[in-house]
């Protein structure tokens, strides 16, 4: 059983911060003091009692935009991760267990996709596709699924050749039992840790695209886009753009701390107890 006292401080901080971000994202309309696009004053006001983080380039409340931004950023990143993860792991497991030409074709295709830097390929595709949220999720999800595919396939191939899987095959077990009862429980922990890393990647990737003006389109608030909106202020000594940038960093670090902890707990194939 997992004991709370066993969680190291770094992981605890990661869990608490991640939870806080998720909370802000889910309850944004209730906790944000002002509306997402509501203009409340003149532009780039410093922080005050009324506007804790000041106002942005159009005079909107920065804190409210941050909270709504959390919602957009986390939601799109989570959906893209869900897509990349389910697609990558299902195809990866299938390739490993079925093998043969299916494995060959899929693996070569993934090699090809991975030979182009993700950002570059995304830019190429986004130059012709309509700029909307669905496109973003699909492009990010499909491109990132290649990495999940590689990991899932590698993990499953390693487990598939173990004697206990052979023993199950000799017993006459069906493919369902072998995938879900023999392979999956042993592949779960590296995949869960990977889930965290993929999510971070999705957040950073989405933010980069929005920052380049190719992701979430204004006036909707998302953190990468907010950096872009407020970047002109930096040269005048107005740090508004640094706040959403720091939020991205903080979210990524928090999730990383959690993923790192999960990975460290499970790097051994000891299995069984205490490895949740």
């Amino acid at each position: 059983m997992l004991k709370l006292s066993r969680i190291p401080a770094s992981a605890a901080i990661g869990i608490i911060l991640t939870a806080a971000f998720v909370f802000a994202a889910v309850f944004a309309p209730w906790i944000a003091p002002y509306g997402e696009g509501q203009i409340v004053g003149s532009l780039w006001q410093p922080s005050s009692a009324a506007h804790w983080l000041g106002t942005d380039n159009l005079g909107r409340d920065l804190l409210s935009r941050m909270i709504y931004g959390a919602r957009t950023t986390l939601l799109i990143a989570a959906l893209a991760t869900a897509l990349s993860f389910s697609m990558g792991s299902i195809l990866g497991f299938t390739a490993a267990v079925v093998g043969g030409w299916i494995d060959q074709v899929m693996s070569r295709l993934v090699d090809l996709l991975m030979s182009i830097p993700t950002l570059i390929f995304a830019l190429v595709v986004l130059s012709v596709l309509p700029a909307n949220t669905l496109t973003l999720i699909l492009v990010m999800g499909v491109l990132d699924s290649t990495r999940v595919y590689r990991l899932a396939r590698a993990v499953a191939v390693d487990i598939n050749v173990m004697d206990f899987v052979e023993a199950a095959k000799l017993r006459g077990e069906g493919r369902g039992w072998i995938i879900f009862r023999e392979i999956l429980p042993n592949a779960l922990s590296p995949l869960v840790a990977e889930l965290g890393l993929r999510f971070i990647f999705a957040v950073l990737f989405l933010s980069a695209l929005s920052f380049l003006g190719l992701g979430v389109q204004p006036p909707e608030a998302d953190w990468g886009g907010m950096v872009k909106e407020n970047k002109e202020g930096i040269v005048f000594g107005i740090p508004a753009a640094l706040i959403p940038a720091a939020a991205i960093a903080l979210l990524a670090i928090s999730v990383n701390l959690v993923a790192d902890w999960i990975l460290n707990r499970t790097t051994d194939l000891k299995g069984g107890r205490g490895n949740g």
């Binding site: 090809l112 030979s115 182009i116 830097p117 390929f121 130059s127 640094l242 940038a245 990383n256 701390l257």
Partner: protein
Amino acid sequence: MSAPVLKLVAQRVGLGLLLLLAVSVLIFTGTQLLPGDVAQAILGQSATPQALENLRRDLGLNDPAYIRYLNWLGGVLTGDLGVALSNGQDIATQLGKRLGNTLFLASVAAVVSVPLSILLGLLAVRYRNRWPDKLISGTTLISISLPEFFIGYLLIYFVAVQLGWFPSVSTVYESMSFGERLAAVALPAATLTLVVLAHMMRMTRAAILNVMQSAYIETAELKGLSQFDIIRKHAFPNAVAPIVNVVMLNLAYLVVGVVVVEVIFVYPGMGQYLVDHVSKRDVPVVQACGLIFAAVYISLNIIADVVAIVANPRLRHPK
């Protein structure tokens, strides 16, 4: 070099070229996903059908896709990258200068980050599990979580705006001296360095540790050799290939990181050129830039593999 090694290297390079060809197909297909068509995009909604038809003919849009691909590929191979839709300028001339700028920035970052990360990687191994190692590992976790623009704007905010040491916008022009250029790219190069440093350091550390934990290092130790001799004669020859591999992979990463950094510092390189034309939906420019970025990326990966092949004694001295 013996015949089998040459054969393997030739195979790897050949495979790389084949991959590049496949990538060109992929990039071309990627830009054919457009729901409308290019002529419409150029002339806008109000264009007459006759004008559209004329433009389509001029651009060869009525040909089947594979003919258009072969025309494009033929052009690329002869150095003709076509004309930008948005302003009618020749892409190859435009790209030439910008590619030079981008490579200059990337090289400056590489010259700083490669030796620095190898040095820090060695330090981490030397003081393994002690505080320098833990500090280095800890910063890695943070550093891979930081978006490029966070580092970039932090540097602009503190170093350029508050301290005024370097310009916040990296303008370069042809009459600049080398020193002036260096000063102009100082901040973007620093950003890139910070982006790849931790990653490269961690991978270097792993590569060296892997070698240092080999049984043959223990053998050397049990021969009574000095620490210096062990590293020079026994660790170094085996660690070179993995370290070169790490460096190449990170240089490839750096070339991509350049895109965002150029936008942050308004640096007239290829990355910014690409991003500008993606917003303008200028397909020929995007295709050309995409292909060049992919080519650089794939070449660096090939070099990494070739070094690994050449450095492997099993392949150099077959049974």
